[in-house]
Symmetry: C2
């Protein structure tokens, strides 16, 4: 294999996570080890930055800044949800790559982003432009195929479980004051996040919350829900519920849309399912319920990130560079769990084309028969992913996150309208 000499470009795409910057740090740290990589550029706001030739020089960042990426949430380069559609967009991307001699492209994101990366690579091949493209997984939803789990997921679960433990102590303290506590978590199409909340139960403490977990995988019926709550309240002092935002009924319709369609502005949006359950409990059972909706905090709570997760996100960034330098292209880095009982994790590769539009569901056999709890198989899978704490420096009482300096790379092309 001939050595490919040129510049590398990193982009971030889709929703941010607590650890997606750690992957950028991994790419930068590793890229500097390889003389075939001359410049290390970042694209601002993913493909948007490529289209608009908004590139920054990451090698010019301080050591401190790159190290700080390992504990800073958000997406330090900015991200986007823009999807390349027109042929013109793709041509522009290639034009920018050629102009800046980008030979290595690392794209950090979910399935849509991996799809974009695959298409860019295909076009480069068509035009006989030598380019190596490696995707780096990122998803708090944990639903990318081909990888044991996704960077971002463990930290989200750790934060939610921490919060559930704290909320549970509060609920317990209130005695008969607040009988039903509901926490609504993210997860539009899959219940990995809601399922993760089950880790907050301590081993050998069957009474620990959450007592009921509602996953988008299991069709929701309000009668059964109310029965579930009644059943729990017969044996527990309070009932603690975790619900995934994407809960659907037996016909596959979102449960929450139906209620919010009655709001003052006629909007029909996801995310009110916690309030919906609260209303059900209060109106049908006549008892008080509380709801917390953690929102974006779930993907941004770096102060409560999993060290395992952050380290694996960094590792995935490093692995992407190593693979590309070794001649790989059109692949996404995967996390591969070792076979032994003691958790180990290495990286692997899967074809980018395998990743797109192929969401990984929770195996049915990891969910209890009654559908509202997770069993030991899930715990065995998820427990290792939340281990260890990231040390975030605090300054003047608050976490001191870093911001990149973002030294612009000179533009040489004309403006491009997106």
């Amino acid at each position: 294999m001939a050595e490919l000499v040129g510049n590398c470009l990193i982009g971030q795409s889709g929703g941010a996570t607590s650890v997606v910057n750690a992957s950028v740090a991994g790419v930068v740290a590793e890229a500097l080890n390889h003389s075939c990589i001359e410049e290390v550029y970042g694209a601002l706001n993913g493909v948007m930055g490529i289209l608009q030739e908004d590139l920054v020089d990451l090698a010019a960042e301080s050591q401190q800044a790159i190290r700080g990426l390992r504990f800073t949430p958000g997406a330090a380069l900015g991200t986007c949800r823009y999807k390349l559609k027109k042929q013109q967009d793709f041509d522009r991307v290639l034009e920018v790559f050629k102009t800046h001699n980008i030979r290595y492209f690392f794209y950090i994101g979910g399935s849509d982003s991996q799809d974009t990366a695959a298409k860019i690579s295909a076009l480069a091949k068509e035009q006989a432009y030598d380019l190596r493209v490696i995707g780096i997984p990122k998803s708090i939803d944990n639903d990318l195929p081909g990888t044991d789990h996704c960077p971002g997921y463990g930290s989200t679960v750790k934060y939610i479980c921490t919060t559930v433990r704290e909320l549970a102590l509060d609920a317990e303290a209130m005695g008969k004051g607040d009988l039903v506590s509901i926490v609504e978590v993210m997860g539009r199409n899959s219940g990995w996040i809601a399922a993760g909340s089950s880790l907050s139960k301590r081993r050998d403490h069957p009474h620990d919350p959450p007592h009921l977990i509602y996953l988008p995988e299991m069709p929701f019926a309000s009668d059964k829900f109310l029965d579930d709550v009644r059943r729990i309240l017969k044996k527990e002092k309070y009932c603690f519920v975790v619900v995934g935002e994407g809960l659907v009924d037996k016909d596959g319709n979102y449960v929450a849309v139906e209620t919010s369609s009655t709001d003052a502005f006629g909007h029909s949006q996801l995310g009110g399912v916690g309030e919906y359950l609260k209303d059900l409990v209060e109106s049908q059972l006549g008892i008080k319920a509380r709801v917390a909706r953690l929102g974006v905090a779930q993907r941004a709570a770096a102060h409560c990130a999993s060290k395992t997760d952050a380290d694996e996100a960094f590792l995935a960034g490093q692995a992407a560079v190593k693979a590309a330098v070794n001649g790989e292209t059109d692949k996404m880095v995967t996390l591969v769990r070792g076979d032994s009982d003691h958790y180990t994790c290495e990286t692997g590769l899967t074809a980018l084309t395998e990743v797109a539009n192929n969401a990984k569901k929770i195996p049915r056999e990891w969910i209890s028969e009654d559908g509202v709890a997770m069993n030991f198989q899930f715990a065995r899978y998820a427990q290792p992913l939340i281990q260890g704490e990231v040390t975030v420096p605090f300054e003047n009482g608050l976490p001191s996150f870093i911001r990149l300096h973002k030294e612009p790379v000179d533009r040489t092309l004309g403006l491009y309208e997106v």
Copy 2:
């Protein structure tokens, strides 16, 4: 002053906080230093436990458990919102006190709880029963009079500011994706909590969020709100809003009740003000908004507690015991700030009767002229309260909170129906 020999009783009341258990730890630790205090009892669920003679022996708890109270959220003894009303209730309390030779009563709570403590003390005097009653302040709302600030407040602010910083990085990363971020925080009658979010701005970073803060103290008008958002979006990349749940309009009506009255079940409850603002932004400005409603997590997030706050809560517990042993009664412990520029805090005492029904408002001169930001006077006040981090032990990836063993004190009275 004659030494008063007998047992002491501690109760917790009202909503839990991240540090209300630290005050219990302070009482227990100090009580053991005084030979005039023979037994150290806890009342389960505040006055409910007294009425029902549900007492536990706190001296029987392990050192580990009492130390663990300094980082465990919730209310380890349980709490209640029950208000003593009938004369019969008060008589029963005294009967329980006499039966168990309770001579020192420490009640940790907000203004209602201090009122209860005052009434119990008055009855004891009437009946010539020698009893010393000291209240210990607790309020995330920070609205108790007579004290510079309230244990519980600093930790809530620290958690919210941490979350705001993280959410802000997420919002910043999304570029033009999510233009308006709204965080709804607690504070039914006062804006101390919402105001506290202003500390998340870094010094000399005027563009830092939150860009707009809506306090219950300042009458809300949707036109002005929409103008505010428009103004911010002209100069910032995104608009970050923090709103207190108890927002009212110019007639003093809760803003959020009006919308939620249109919900499917006809409920009229507080707490939807974040959604209300989101709907306003989306329908009137046609841009996307996100809302996070942290709910009870705000008063339970011990993993992000302020060390200053936790230490002061402990100190307040100790001070209560010292005061009682020194012959004080009918007082609440206060926190007294030193005069120097370097923050110091001692304890003082105020009359219990001064505390009830006398909520402390934010001084108008601490709020910016336009009413949607806090000025340096507020920062000078609040900044010291969030300093330092409590070290919560993590086990298997999650915070390991303690639970009291709760060895029951033998009952000698008949049952009492509440």
